[in-house]
């Protein structure tokens, strides 16, 4: 049984109740780096982003083409399943609605796949309707490789493991395909407001 370590405070965190803070989370002001493997380093002249799978025809962009898409600046709260939340994070990127414009598909599910092999799954409707972006700047600066650069997904209404770093593309699929963490204990959907962290939550 653990006992309180006299005088230990730990890193700066705020658990003060807030309607913006999902259950079980605390607010941090730094930006923790989480990684399941070596940090991929992708030269921009080799980077591509694709939409493939159950689609009329696959789409792909290289870095130059991608940077020509209409961009937005968005400010969002993000929530990591390891319990930290960060408020008002600023990003620059392209809305998934723009990326999927004109795409014809009957698929209901998606799989995000990354350089380095990471995958995570989402219903297609969670990537659309102004809920998701492919972002390449954080706080006005190019996204650092440690934080998922050159580009990562931003899907802030779900736990942040559902926003793949080092994004390489999105596959549209008819059947749900649980990804890297979803096949190993983490909840298939991951809604922080219903505290859906693990299987069975």
């Amino acid at each position: 049984m653990s006992f309180i370590s006299r005088g230990f405070r730990g890193k700066r965190r705020d658990t003060a109740s807030s309607s913006r803070l999902p259950p079980g989370q605390y607010i941090v002001t730094d930006y923790p780096v989480l990684s399941a493997g070596p940090t991929p380093r992708i030269p921009l002249n080799e980077w591509t982003f694709v939409i493939e799978g159950e689609i009329d025809k696959p789409r792909s962009w290289n870095w130059e083409e991608f940077r020509k898409l209409p961009t937005e600046q968005v400010t969002k709260d993000i929530h990591c399943v390891t319990k930290w939340s960060k408020f008002d994070t600023g990003w620059t990127g392209v809305s998934m609605d723009k990326i999927l414009e004109g795409v014809e598909t009957a698929a209901e599910y998606t799989v995000q796949f990354s350089y380095g092999g990471y995958t995570t799954n989402l219903p297609l409707e969670d990537l659309t309707g102004g809920k998701a972006w492919v972002v390449y700047e954080f706080d006005g600066q190019p996204l650092h490789p440690e934080h998922g650069g050159p580009a990562r997904m931003l899907v802030p209404h779900l736990y942040f493991w559902k926003s793949a770093k080092w994004i390489r593309g999105i596959r549209l699929v008819n059947e749900d395909e649980p990804g890297f963490w979803e096949t190993n204990g983490y909840h298939n959907y991951g809604d922080p407001w219903r505290e859906q962290r693990y299987w069975g939550d």
Partner: protein
């Protein structure tokens, strides 16, 4: 694409305590055969990434994921499918 080594990488020594919770014995000296490349390494030598929603263990030779360990909500989830065979002492 070039993949460089992350400073966040540790090795199997760092999960000695966690493995001791799961197995009934000390496991860092156990030898695992990678299901992907077939090379054998002691658990103390494999690459471990702990700054993640779970622990990810990778083969030092080929980088394939050997183990995933998640602990939370009163349960463990353990995927050892990246290890074909694990050999350790019964003493």
């Amino acid at each position: 694409m070039t993949v460089q080594q992350s400073d966040l990488k540790l090795d199997g020594n760092a999960i000695g305590g966690l493995l001791r919770e799961i197995f009934t014995m000390e496991m860092t000296a156990a030898e695992g055969t990678c299901s992907s490349c077939g090379k054998v390494h002691a658990v103390g030598q494999v690459e471990v990434y702990m700054n993640a929603p779970g622990v990810v263990v990778r083969c030092p030779a080929c980088g394939q994921v050997q183990m995933r360990i998640v602990k939370g909500g009163g349960r463990y989830w353990l995927d050892l499918s990246g290890i074909r065979c694990l050999e350790f002492s019964s003493d």
